[in-house]
C-alpha cells in the first residue's frame, strides 16, 4: 500500500447540459439528451438504465473518447478534451493486451509515464499482491479466468493513480459467484484509494450494493430520470441484501427501470408497425400480449 501516496480527495466529475448525438446514414441519432450528473471526490456513483439508453455514451464522454454535442464535462474544474491517465477505465470485454503478461499489463500506464523498469516492476507486483494475483504475474491474459482478467483490468487502471475510475458493466460477463467477489474487491480498493468511481451497470442489486448514489436513466434518448441516494451503512455485507432497507430501494429502482424498459420496447414495437394493435404499455398487459 505504501507505493500509492495518500492524497487529498480529488476527482470531482461534473457533466452539465450534456447531450450527444451520433451521425448515421439515417441522420443524427440522439443517444443522450439534457443530462446533468456529478460525482463528488471519493464518491461511488452508479448509472443504471435499460440497454441502449446511452450509459456507455455518457461514460465514454467522461473518459474523453467522445465529444459532447452540447454541454460540458469537467473533472476538478478542468474541461475533458480527450482520454488521459487521470481517468482510468475498465471495460466489459476486459481489453487486456494479449501480448503482454499480467504484470506488463499492469505496468503499462507507468511505462507510458516514463517510470524506470525496476521501479514499475516493484509497483506492479505490490498492486497485483493486493488483488491476490501475484502468482499469475508472468501469465498471459488468455490463460486467466474472466474474474482474474477483470481484476487485472481494475489493477491496471488504478496503477497510475487516476483521480477517477470509470467502469462500463465490468462484471457483466462474469458468473454470479465471481461477480460478488469482484464487487468486494472493487469496494476494498475504492475505500483504500479514496478515488471517485463512476460505475455503469444494468444490475440493480449491484448498483445499490456498491454505490453512495445511483442515477437512473430514461430510455433513449437517455437523460436522468431519477437520482437515488443509497444510505446503507458501510462496510456493506452480503447479508444487507436481504434487509428491508435494501429491498425497498430495490423495489423503487426496479419499477423505474421497468417503466423505461417498456418504453424502449414499446418504441421497437411501434417501429415494427404494430401500433395498430393498440398495446397498452403497462407492465402486465404488454407481457401478456407478447
Amino acid at each position: 500500500m505504501s507505493e500509492i501516496p495518500a492524497k487529498a480527495p480529488q476527482g470531482h466529475i461534473e457533466v452539465r447540459s450534456f447531450s450527444l448525438s451520433y451521425d448515421s446514414i439515417e441522420g443524427p441519432v440522439q443517444a443522450v439528451t439534457d443530462t446533468q450528473i456529478h460525482v463528488k471526490p471519493g464518491e461511488f456513483v452508479s448509472i443504471v438504465g435499460p440497454s441502449g439508453c446511452g450509459k456507455s455514451t455518457l461514460l465514454n464522454a467522461v473518459a474523453g473518447f467522445l465529444k459532447p454535442t452540447t454541454g460540458i464535462v469537467t473533472v476538478d474544474g478542468e474541461r475533458v478534451s480527450g482520454p488521459s491517465a487521470e481517468r482510468g477505465m475498465v471495460f466489459q470485454q476486459y481489453s487486456l493486451f494479449p501480448w503482454k503478461t499480467v504484470r506488463e499489463n499492469v505496468e503499462f500506464g507507468l511505462k507510458m509515464r516514463g517510470m524506470p523498469r525496476s521501479q514499475r516492476e516493484r509497483a506492479a507486483r505490490t498492486l497485483l499482491g493486493l488483488a491476490g494475483l501475484e502468482a499469475f504475474e508472468k501469465h498471459y491474459p488468455e490463460k486467466l479466468s474472466g474474474g482474474m482478467k477483470q481484476r487485472v483490468g481494475i489493477v491496471r487502471a488504478l496503477a497510475t493513480g487516476p483521480k477517477v475510475l470509470l467502469l462500463d458493466e465490468p462484471f457483466g460477463a462474469l458468473d454470479a459467484q465471481t461477480r460478488v467477489i469482484m464487487q468486494q474487491i472493487l469496494t476494498n480498493m475504492w475505500q483504500r484509494l479514496k478515488i471517485s468511481v463512476l460505475f455503469v451497470t444494468h444490475d440493480i442489486d449491484e448498483a445499490i450494493f456498491l454505490s453512495d448514489r445511483v442515477y437512473c436513466m430514461t430510455a433513449r434518448p437517455g437523460s436522468i430520470k431519477a437520482e437515488i441516494p443509497i444510505p446503507l451503512e458501510r462496510p456493506r455485507q452480503q447479508s444487507m441484501m436481504m434487509s428491508s432497507e435494501f429491498l425497498a430501494l430495490r423495489r423503487g429502482l426496479m419499477s423505474l427501470i421497468r417503466e423505461e424498459s417498456l418504453k424502449a420496447m414499446g418504441g421497437e414495437i411501434n417501429d415494427l408497425g404494430m401500433r395498430g394493435l393498440n398495446i397498452e404499455l403497462h407492465g402486465q398487459s404488454l407481457a401478456e400480449v407478447l
Binding site: S84, R113, F136
Partner: protein
C-alpha cells in the same frame, strides 16, 4: 459432532477467492520418470501416430516411384527417362562433394535472403503506416492494387532492362514476389486491431507513437507472420523462375541446365533441393514467429 480432520473437504480451508477462481495451478509434487513418460505418451499419442503414418506414406511414395521408373511405365505419362530414386541418390552423393552444386545452393539462398529481407523491411512498415494513416493508404493503395496482380515472372524482361546486372534483376524479382503478400497481410492485420485496446492504451496515457508500438504493431504481428510465410513461398517460386530464365547460377539454373545437359537424375535432385530449401525457410519463419509471439504458444 465434530468430524475428524481427515474427512474435511480440502476446500474448507481455502480462501473464498481460491474456490471461485479456477486458473492454472502449480503442480504439487514432481511425478516419477516412468509416470511422466507414460503421460507424455498418452498426450502425444495422436501426434506419434501421425508421424508413423507420415513416414510410411513417404516410403510408399518412394516405392511407387522406384517401381514406375524401374519398369519404365508408359501410361499416358512416360517414365522412360525419369530417373529412379537410387539414381537420384547417387547424384546427390556426387553433388554434395561438388563445390559447384553447393555454390548454386548458396547463391539461391543469398538471393532469397536479400530479396525477401528487403520485401519485409519495406513491406511491413509500409503496411503499418498505410493502416494507420488514411492519406498514405489513399495514395499508395491504387498503385499497389494495379501492380499486385502482375506475377513476378512477368517482370523478368523489365527487370533485365531496369537493373545493370543479372544478379540484381533476379533479386528484384524475388523481392517483388514476396513484397505484395507481406504488404497486404500487414495492412489486413492493421484493419483488424481491436479499437477497445487502443482506447485502453489511450486512457493509460499512451500517445500516438506508443500506441503504434505497443498496440497496433503487436496486434498485427500474427497477420504480419502470415504475410511473411506466404511471401517466402512466393519468393522461392519467383526466384526459381527467374533463375531458369536468366540465371547462370542458382538451384533453378542447375535444374534447368541438367535438362539441357541430359543429366536426368540432376533434374530430380534440383527439384528436391528446391523443395527442402522452401520447407526449411518456412520452418524458420514459423520458429521466428513463435519466438516473437510467445503469448500465442499453446
Amino acid at each position: 459432532m465434530s468430524s475428524p480432520a481427515i474427512l474435511r473437504h480440502p476446500e474448507d480451508s481455502m480462501p473464498a477467492t481460491a474456490i471461485a477462481e479456477t486458473g492454472p495451478e502449480p503442480v504439487a509434487t514432481p511425478p516419477s520418470f516412468g509416470t511422466l513418460a507414460l503421460r507424455w505418451y498418452r498426450l502425444n499419442r495422436s501426434g506419434l501416430r501421425a508421424i508413423a503414418i507420415g513416414i510410411t506414406s513417404l516410403l510408399a511414395f518412394l516405392l511407387v516411384w522406384h517401381l514406375l521408373t524401374t519398369y519404365r511405365v508408359v501410361f499416358f505419362v512416360r517414365f522412360t527417362n525419369v530417373p529412379s530414386p537410387l539414381a537420384v541418390y547417387a547424384s546427390f552423393i556426387k553433388a554434395i562433394h561438388d563445390p559447384k552444386f553447393l555454390m548454386h545452393i548458396v547463391l539461391s539462398c543469398r538471393r532469397i535472403l536479400v530479396g525477401f529481407s528487403l520485401a519485409a523491411i519495406i513491406g511491413v512498415p509500409l503496411g503499418l503506416v498505410m493502416g494507420r494513416f488514411k492519406l498514405v493508404h489513399e495514395v499508395i493503395f491504387p498503385v499497389a492494387e494495379v501492380l499486385r496482380p502482375i506475377p513476378a515472372i512477368a517482370w523478368v524482361p523489365m527487370a533485365i532492362m531496369l537493373w545493370p546486372t543479372n544478379e540484381q534483376s533476379i533479386v528484384y524479382i524475388t523481392f517483388l514476389g514476396s513484397f505484395f503478400p507481406i504488404l497486404v497481410n500487414t495492412l489486413h492485420g492493421m484493419t483488424l486491431v481491436d479499437p477497445v485496446l487502443v482506447r485502453a492504451a489511450q486512457c493509460l496515457g499512451a500517445r500516438e507513437r506508443s500506441i503504434f508500438r505497443e498496440v497496433y504493431f503487436p496486434a498485427s504481428l500474427p497477420h504480419i507472420f502470415t504475410g511473411l510465410t506466404v511471401g517466402m513461398g512466393v519468393a522461392w517460386v519467383s526466384l526459381i523462375a527467374a533463375e531458369m530464365i536468366s540465371g547462370q547460377y542458382g538451384i533453378g539454373y542447375f535444374t534447368w541446365e541438367a535438362y539441357s545437359l541430359v543429366q536426368y537424375a540432376d533434374i530430380a535432385l534440383g527439384m528436391i533441393a528446391i523443395g527442402v530449401l522452401g520447407l526449411g525457410s518456412s520452418l524458420l519463419i514459423r520458429g521466428a514467429g513463435q519466438l516473437v509471439m510467445p503469448w500465442r504458444a499453446k
